[in-house]
C-alpha cells in the first residue's frame, strides 16, 4: 500500500536540492488537515478514497473527536515526479525523486506555539485560506510568524467546492472573491516584507496560488490549465498563464483576447472562461448524474475512469471524477517543488535569523551551505510524547552536518551561554527516527536539511535546544523561538488522593516539557497552577496531564483563575512616610501612574534595566515627556528587575543615599511582586523617593532596617494614590453570517464585552466582528456563543491589553473590593486588606 520504504526516504535525504520542508498553516477550520490528507494519500499512506475524511495528521483521539488539530504533526513523504512535469523547473535538482517533510499545524489561536515550533524547522509554508471566509485573524498571525522566520509562503484558496455547491455563485463573482482573498494575503505579506527573502507575494499567474477543495481531494494551479490550453491556442505556456488571471478577457464569438470586458455577452474573463466554467460544468453534470454527457467530456479532457467507478452516483462520483482530473497532490506538489525553497536555498538567507554566533564562523558557514560534512547543528523545536509514557521524542531539524544513532552530542539549552557550563549536557543519541504518519521508522543517520526525531535525550532537553557535535565547544546556539501568545488563563490543580502528590508533580513536569506554552507553577498558598494560552488549551493540557502523564490518577481542578495587576490612578494625595523598625530611619515616597504606553514599552523591552542610560533618557524625554535629568535617576524596574514599575530618585542632597539604594531596590522588588490590595503584581506605577532621613551610624541603616521600611512606604504610597485593579482583556474576533449578529451582540453584552469594529466581508454574507472581552468573562464564552448563534459563530480570543477597572477597591462593597476579597480568600490571606495606617507612620 505504502508506495515507498524508509530506505527510499533515507536515500533522498542526501539530495539536499530535492527536499522540501514545509508547514501547512492557516486559520482554524480552513482545511489544513483535510488538504494534507490528499498529499498523504498521493504518497500511498492512506487510500485515495478516504482522503479528506481520515485527517491522517490528527493523530490524537481528542483531535479526531473535536475535529481540530491540537498538536503539529510531522510526516515525511516521498514522490517521484515525471520528467514532463519537471521540464520547466529551473532550479537545481538531482533526479526526479522528491522528499517532502510536511508539518500540519493547528489553526486555533490557543495553539499558536505549535505553529511557531513548526515554522522554525521548515523553509516554506502552504497558507490555506477558505475562499468564502477569506483572510482571518489567525491567517494574519501565522503569516506574520512565517515571514518573521523567513519562511517563503505559497497560497491555496481552499474549499472551492463551497463555491460550486453551496453558494453557486457565477464565475465573475467567484473570481472577485478569489482575487480579494489573494490581495488580502498579499497586503499582509507586503507589510512584513524582508529584503533578503525578496518578493514573497503570491500570484496565480506565476503558479504560487493554488485553488483547492481539500474535502474532495482536487486542486489546480493555473499551470494545469495553461498546459492544457497552450497547445490549443498555440501560445507559450507562460503566456497562457498570464491570460488566465487578471484583466484578460476572451470572447469565444470573436476568438479575441482583450484587456477590457468588451461588453458583449459572450465575453468573459480568461479565468472564468477557461478554468471556472469547465469545472463548474463537470461538477454540475456529475451532481445531476448526467452520465451520458459526462463520459464524452471526460474523454476530451483525457480523464480515464475505472469501470467500477463509473457506477458511482452524485457526490461520490463528482469526488472521484475531480480527483482523477485534477488531483490535489499533483497541483500542490508541483507548486511546492517549484516555488518553495530547498533547504540548501533557504538556509542561505535563514542563517542570519537562526544562528546567534558570528556570521563568519564554521557553524554559520555550515548552516549557510547546508553542508552535510560540516559540524552538526540541530535545533530541537518540540518534544513529542512517545507511546511509552513519560518519554519524549526530541523533534527538530538538522541544519548542518548529520546526526546518527549513537552519536555523542552537546546539548545547549535555552539558557546556555557560550563558554560556560550552564545548561549544557553531553549525551549520546540512542536512536534517530523519521516520521511517516502514524508510524516511526528508525534510520541509521539523518543528514542536514531534514526533520528528525531523536530518542534518548528527553531527560536533558527542556522544551527546546541546539545540538552539536561533542567536540564543537565553541559553537553558539541557534536562536530561541519567540512565541506570539502568552499564558494568561490559569487553573489550580490538586490530586484527589493526597498521596498522589508525587505523581502530580511528575506529571506537571512532563506536561511542561511537552508543550512550550504551558507554565506549571506554584502559588504562595501551595496550590499547583497550570497556565495556558486559552480555555481550550488548558482543557487539552489537563486531559493530557491526567491521562498521559499521571497514569489516570484523578485530579481536581479549580475554576479558571485570572491574574490581575495592581496600579494607581493618580499621584499620591500626600508624601507618605514610613519609619524603620528602630524608628531611626524615615523614607518619604509618592506613587504616580506611569505615562500612557510606558508600561507597554517596558513590556516590549524597549525600555529596560540594561539600556544605555543616554538612550533611555532620550526615549523617555522625547516620547513620554520626562525630564532628561530625571530619566537618569531611575533606580530600578520591578518586579523581577524588568517589570513595568520603577523607582525614581527625587531626593536632593541626601547623605548616605547610595548606601540604602540596594535595600530600597530589594524592598521594591518584593513589594512590586505582591501589591497591597491582593498581592498581585503591580503594573504601571512610578515610585518617587522624595526624601530620606537616615541614622548617622551605618549599622542602624542596614538592610534589616531599610528593606521592610521600603516595602511599607511603597504600600503606603500606593494606597494613597487611588489604587485600582487592572484586568486582562482579550481581543475577540468573530466571523458569522448576518442572522447570527444579534446573538453575538447579546452574548458580548452579557459578558461585559464591547464591539469596536464590524465589517462585512465584501462579496460574502459574512461579518467580521472585533470586540474586547475581559478574560474573566471569557470562560464558557465560546460555548455560550455557539448556543446563541446555533453554531454559526466561532470566536478567536487573543490577549490584548490590561484594562483598568473603574471601581475603587478601597470602597467597601464595590465590584473591585469584592474581587480583592475573593482573590485574598483564594490565596489564603486575611480577607481584610491591611489598612494604610499599618504602612504609614507619622512624625
Amino acid at each position: 500500500m505504502v508506495k515507498f520504504t524508509a530506505d527510499e526516504l533515507r536515500r533522498i535525504m542526501d539530495y539536499k536540492h530535492n527536499i522540501r520542508n514545509m508547514s501547512v498553516i492557516a486559520h482554524v477550520d480552513h482545511g489544513k488537515s483535510t488538504l494534507t490528507d490528499s498529499l498523504v494519500a498521493a504518497a500511498g499512506i492512506i487510500a485515495q478514497e478516504v482522503a479528506g475524511d481520515v485527517r491522517m495528521t490528527d493523530t490524537r483521539a481528542d483531535e479526531a473527536e473535536r475535529g481540530i488539530t491540537i498538536k503539529s504533526t510531522g510526516i515525511s513523504l516521498y514522490y517521484e515526479m515525471s520528467d514532463a512535469s519537471l521540464k520547466s523547473f529551473k532550479g537545481e535538482r538531482m533526479g526526479n525523486e522528491y522528499l517532502i517533510n510536511l508539518i500540519d499545524s493547528p489553526g486555533h489561536v490557543d495553539f499558536s506555539s505549535e505553529v511557531t515550533a513548526a515554522l522554525r524547522i521548515t523553509d516554506g509554508a502552504l497558507v490555506v485560506v477558505d475562499c468564502v471566509e477569506g483572510v482571518c485573524v489567525q491567517t494574519e498571525t501565522v503569516l506574520r510568524q512565517a515571514l518573521g522566520e523567513r519562511i517563503r509562503p505559497v497560497l491555496t484558496v481552499n474549499k472551492m467546492d463551497r463555491c460550486f455547491l453551496e453558494l453557486q455563485v457565477d464565475g465573475e463573482e467567484a473570481y472577485q472573491t478569489f482575487q480579494r482573498v489573494i490581495e488580502n494575503a498579499n497586503v499582509i505579506m507586503a507589510t512584513y516584507e524582508d529584503p533578503l527573502l525578496g518578493d514573497v507575494q503570491v500570484y496565480p499567474e506565476k503558479g504560487t496560488v493554488a485553488f483547492s477543495a481539500g474535502l474532495h481531494g482536487w486542486a489546480f494551479t493555473l499551470t494545469n490549465f495553461a498546459k492544457m490550453y497552450a497547445s490549443k491556442f498555440g501560445v507559450d505556456e507562460s503566456k497562457m498563464m498570464e491570460r488566465l488571471w487578471g484583466e484578460n478577457f476572451f470572447d469565444p464569438a470573436t476568438k479575441k483576447w482583450t484587456t477590457k470586458n468588451s461588453g458583449s455577452p459572450t465575453c468573459k474573463r480568461g479565468f472564468v472562461q477557461f478554468c471556472y466554467e469547465p469545472i463548474k460544468q463537470i461538477i454540475n453534470t456529475c451532481m445531476n448524474d448526467q452520465k451520458d454527457k459526462l463520459w464524452p467530456m471526460l474523454q476530451k479532457l483525457g480523464v480515464v475512469m475505472k469501470s467500477d467507478e463509473k457506477d458511482l452516483m452524485g457526490k461520490a462520483l463528482m469526488k472521484r471524477v475531480m480527483q482523477t482530473w485534477l488531483p490535489a497532490s499533483t497541483a500542490l506538489l508541483e507548486m511546492m517543488i517549484f516555488h518553495l525553497p530547498s533547504p540548501s536555498t533557504a538556509q542561505k538567507y535563514r542563517v542570519e535569523n537562526l544562528y546567534e554566533g558570528p556570521m563568519d564562523d564554521a557553524y554559520a558557514n555550515a548552516i549557510r551551505n547546508c553542508d552535510p560534512d560540516g559540524p552538526l547543528m540541530l535545533y530541537v523545536s518540540k518534544m513529542i510524547p512517545a507511546s511509552d509514557k513519560g518519554r519524549f521524542f526530541a523533534f527538530g531539524r538538522v541544519f548542518s552536518g548529520r546526526v546518527s544513532t549513537g552519536l555523542k552530542v552537546r546539548i545547549m539549552g535555552p539558557n546556555y551561554v557560550p563558554g560556560e557550563k550552564k545548561d549544557l549536557y553531553v549525551k549520546s543519541v540512542q536512536r534517530t527516527v523519521i516520521w511517516m504518519g502514524k508510524r516511526q521508522e528508525t534510520v541509521e543517520d539523518v543528514p542536514c536539511g531534514n526533520t528528525v526525531a531523536l530518542v534518548g535525550l528527553d531527560q536533558y532537553i527542556t522544551k527546546n535546544a541546539t545540538l552539536t557535535n561533542e567536540k564543537e565547544v565553541d559553537a553558539h546556539p541557534i536562536r530561541a523561538m519567540k512565541f506570539s501568545v502568552s499564558p494568561v488563563v490559569r487553573v489550580a490543580v490538586q490530586c484527589k488522593v493526597a498521596s498522589d502528590l508525587p505523581k502530580l508533580v511528575e506529571g506537571l513536569k512532563r506536561l511542561a516539557k511537552s508543550d512550550p506554552m504551558v507554565v506549571c507553577s506554584i502559588e504562595e498558598s501551595g496550590e499547583h497552577i497550570i497556565a495556558g494560552a486559552g480555555e481550550l488549551h488548558l482543557e487539552i493540557c489537563l486531559k493530557d496531564l491526567q491521562d498521559d502523564f499521571m497514569g489516570g490518577a484523578e485530579i481536581i481542578k479549580s475554576d479558571p483563575v485570572v491574574s490581575f495587576r495592581e496600579t494607581v490612578l493618580e499621584r499620591s494625595i500626600r508624601t507618605v512616610m514610613s519609619k524603620s523598625p528602630n524608628k531611626h530611619n524615615r523614607l518619604y515616597m509618592e506613587a504616580r501612574p506611569l505615562e500612557e504606553g510606558l508600561a507597554e514599552a517596558i513590556d516590549d523591552g524597549r525600555i529596560g534595566p540594561r539600556d544605555d542610560p543616554k538612550v533611555r533618557s532620550k526615549i523617555l524625554s522625547e516620547e513620554f515627556g520626562w525630564d532628561k535629568e530625571l530619566a537618569k535617576k531611575i533606580w530600578c524596574f520591578g518586579p523581577e528587575t524588568t517589570g513595568p514599575n520603577m523607582v525614581v530618585d527625587m531626593c536632593k542632597g541626601v547623605q548616605y543615599l547610595n548606601e540604602i539604594k540596594d535595600s530600597v531596590v530589594a524592598g521594591f522588588q518584593w513589594a512590586s511582586k505582591e501589591g497591597p490590595l491582593a498581592e498581585e503584581n503591580m503594573r504601571g506605577i512610578c515610585f518617587e523617593v522624595c526624601d530620606v532621613v537616615l541614622h548617622a551610624d551605618a549599622i542602624h541603616r542596614g538592610g534589616g532596617q531599610v528593606i521592610p521600611t521600603a516595602r511599607r512606604v511603597i504600600y503606603a504610597s500606593h494606597l494613597t494614590a487611588k489604587p485600582r485593579l487592572l484586568e486582562p482583556v482579550y481581543l475577540v474576533e468573530i466571523q458569522a453570517p448576518e442572522q447570527a449578529l444579534g446573538g453575538i451582540y447579546s452574548v458580548l453584552n452579557q459578558k461585559r464585552g464591547h464591539v469596536f469594529e464590524e465589517l462585512q466581508r465584501p462579496g460574502t454574507p459574512l461579518y467580521n466582528i472585533k470586540a474586547y472581552l475581559p478574560v474573566v468573562e471569557s470562560f464558557g464564552f465560546s460555548s455560550t456563543l455557539r448556543a446563541a448563534t446555533s453554531g454559526q459563530a466561532f470566536p478567536q480570543c487573543v490577549f490584548d491589553h490590561w484594562d483598568m477597572m473603574s471601581s475603587d477597591p478601597l470602597e467597601a462593597g464595590s465590584q473591585a473590593a469584592l474581587l480583592v476579597t475573593d482573590i485574598r480568600k483564594r490565596k489564603g490571606l486575611k480577607e481584610q486588606m491591611t489598612p494604610l495606617s499599618e504602612f504609614e507612620d507619622r512624625l
Binding site: Y460, K583, C636, T641
Partner: protein
C-alpha cells in the same frame, strides 16, 4: 485556683531537696513573671521547712529563644545545677542541665469535656485518641474516670467507646550523659515509655506526649481529640498527623472546633516554601536553640547537605529571629531554622526570605525526594527517620515550580569539578578583569549570586570609597541636631508644610 497548687511548690521543694541541688534557676515565661516573687517566697518557706538551708534560687525570664525551652545558657550564667521550668513547654530534651517542668493547671470543666468527647465519639464512630495541652494534664485522670462512669450510666457497658489517652513522657528531663547516674526514681517514667515502645505496638510521641497504638492500627484510623488551645503544640499535631481527622476542644470557651481548614492550609503553605527552598542558592542556617539536645548535630548535618547540594550555607546566631534581623542578610534566599519543635514554624509572610524547618530543608535539598505528606518536626525523629543518604543525582534539569519551568541545577561540587575549577580559576579571573564593567546591570541580578561574596559584588554600594576622586578635605558642615523622632530641621519643615 490558688498559686500553691498551681505552681506545685511542694513538689518542687521536694525535688530540690531530694537531689541536693544548691543553685536552682526558676525559669518563668513572660506571662507568669508577675507570680515569680510569690513562688520564690513560698518555695523558700517550703525548703526551710525541709531544713534545706543553702539553696540559692534564681529567677530567669526573657529567654533568648522560645520560652518553651529550657534556657540552659541563661542558667549556666548563674552556675545553676538545675532548672525549674514553669508554664507552657515543648519538653525538648536538654543537653547539659536536669530540668523539672511545672506545666501549671488550667481550669477545665471535666463534665463538659466528657460530654463533648462522648458526643464526638458517637457521631464519628472512629476510635478516639485523646491528646491534650500539657496544662490540662492534671485533669486527664479525672476525665478518664468520668467518661467511663458516664458511658456506663448511659449504655451499661464501656465497650463501645474507650478512647486511647496519651501520657506525659515525664515531667523531669535529664541531659543524656547524666541520666545514667542520676536518681532512678524519675527514670521509671521513661522506662515505662521505652518498654512500651519496644513492644509490638507502635509508639508515637509529640511535644512531650507519648502513646502507642495497638497492633494493626494506624494513626489514620483514629480521630484525634485535642483538649487545649490553638497554640504551636496543636499546630504541630495538625501538621504531623495531617492525614488524621482532628477536632479540638477548647476548654476556655467550652466548644468543639471541627473546622481546621485554616490549619490544614499551613501544610500547603509549607509545601510552597519547600519548593521555594529548592530554588535557593544561598541558605542561612538560623540557630534557634542552644539547649535542645542534638541541635549541633542537626546543624552539621544540614550544613553538609547544603554543600552537597551545591549551595552555599551560612550559619547565624541571632536569638529570636524577626524580619528586621533577617533582612540584614538579603543574600540568603532561604533560612533553615533549627529550633525546638514548637517555635520552629515561623509564619514567614513578613520575612524577606522564607524560614523553613530542618525537615523541610531535607525534603528540598535531597533531589528526587518527594513530599508525600508526612511531616516530621522533632530532630530526634528526623535524625532517626532520614538516612541522609545522597543518592546519585540524576542529570535531568530540575523543574522549578516557582519559575514554572526547568532550571539548570547547580553542580554539586564533586572533587573533579573543584580540581578543574582551580585550573580554570586563573583564566576566569583574567577574563573577568578584561570584561567591561557594566554599571547598569549591577543592581539587577540577585537571584544568580551563589555566595555572599558574589552577592556583595553585585551590589551598587560596596562601602566607603576611600580612593574617591576628591582627595581634598571637605568643607566644614553643620550636622543635624535634635532627636531621632524628628530632628530640629525636620520639625520646622513640618511646621511650614
Amino acid at each position: 485556683m490558688n498559686s500553691e497548687s498551681h505552681y506545685e511548690n511542694d513538689r518542687v521543694a521536694e525535688f530540690i531537696h531530694r537531689h541536693g541541688f544548691t543553685r536552682v534557676a526558676l525559669q518563668f515565661p513572660d506571662e507568669l513573671l508577675k507570680d515569680s516573687m510569690r513562688v520564690v517566697k513560698s518555695l523558700r518557706e517550703k525548703l526551710n521547712s525541709l531544713y534545706v538551708e543553702d539553696v540559692k534560687l534564681y529567677v530567669m525570664a526573657d529567654t533568648t529563644y522560645g520560652s518553651c525551652c529550657v534556657d540552659e545558657v541563661g542558667a549556666s550564667h548563674v552556675n545553676a545545677n538545675c532548672v525549674i521550668h514553669y508554664g507552657h513547654t515543648c519538653l525538648s530534651q536538654t543537653s547539659t542541665l536536669p530540668a523539672l517542668f511545672i506545666f501549671g493547671k488550667a481550669s477545665i470543666s471535666v463534665s463538659k469535656c466528657v460530654t463533648n468527647l462522648r458526643n464526638c465519639g458517637e457521631r464519628i464512630g472512629k476510635p478516639i485518641l485523646v491528646l491534650y495541652g500539657l496544662e490540662y494534664a492534671h485533669a486527664i485522670q479525672e476525665i478518664k474516670e468520668a467518661l467511663i462512669s458516664d458511658v456506663l450510666s448511659l449504655c451499661g457497658s464501656t465497650s463501645g467507646l474507650e478512647p486511647l489517652y496519651a501520657d506525659i513522657r515525664c515531667s523531669v528531663i535529664y541531659p543524656p550523659e547524666t541520666s545514667n547516674s542520676a536518681n532512678r526514681l524519675e527514670l521509671v517514667d521513661r522506662e515505662v515509655a521505652n518498654s512500651l515502645a519496644k513492644g509490638t505496638n507502635t509508639a508515637y510521641g509529640i511535644g512531650g506526649l507519648t502513646w502507642s497504638l495497638p497492633e494493626g492500627r494506624k494513626m489514620d484510623d483514629y480521630l484525634v481529640f485535642w483538649i487545649g488551645l490553638d497554640n504551636p503544640a496543636f499546630a504541630n499535631v495538625v501538621l504531623q498527623f495531617n492525614s488524621c481527622e482532628i477536632v479540638r476542644y477548647d476548654a476556655t470557651e467550652d466548644c468543639l472546633v471541627t473546622n481546621l481548614s485554616q490549619q490544614k492550609k499551613i501544610l500547603n503553605r509549607r509545601y510552597y516554601l519547600v519548593e521555594k527552598a529548592k530554588d535557593a542558592n544561598i541558605i542561612g542556617i538560623l540557630v534557634g536553640t542552644l539547649g535542645v539536645a542534638g541541635y549541633l548535630n542537626m546543624i552539621h548535618r544540614i550544613k553538609e547537605m547544603i554543600t552537597r547540594a551545591g549551595k552555599k550555607a551560612y550559619t547565624f546566631v541571632m536569638g529570636r529571629p524577626n524580619p528586621a534581623k533577617l533582612a540584614n542578610f538579603p543574600e540568603c534566599d532561604v533560612f533553615v531554622f533549627v529550633s525546638c519543635a514548637q517555635t520552629a514554624l515561623l509564619d514567614s509572610k513578613e520575612f524577606l526570605a522564607p524560614v523553613i524547618t530542618p525537615f523541610e530543608a531535607m525534603v528540598a535539598l535531597s533531589r528526587g525526594s518527594q513530599w508525600t505528606g508526612e511531616y516530621v518536626i522533632e530532630f530526634s525523629d528526623l535524625i532517626a527517620s532520614c538516612s541522609f543518604e545522597v543518592k546519585k543525582q540524576s542529570e535531568e534539569a530540575r523543574f522549578s515550580f516557582l519559575k514554572g519551568g526547568y532550571v539548570e541545577n547547580l553542580d554539586p561540587e564533586d572533587d573533579d569539578a573543584v580540581e578543574k575549577d582551580e585550573i580554570l580559576a586563573l583564566v576566569n579571573v583574567t577574563e573577568k578583569a578584561l570584561r567591561v564593567r557594566d554599571n547598569n546591570s549591577l543592581s539587577i541580578k540577585k537571584a544568580n549570586a551563589k555566595s555572599g561574596a558574589e552577592y556583595f559584588a553585585t551590589r551598587s554600594y560596596h562601602g566607603l570609597e576611600i580612593n574617591g576622586d576628591n582627595r581634598s578635605p571637605e568643607t566644614f558642615l553643620i550636622g543635624r541636631s535634635g532627636r531621632a523622632s524628628g530632628y530640629d530641621d525636620e520639625k520646622t519643615k513640618q511646621g511650614t508644610l
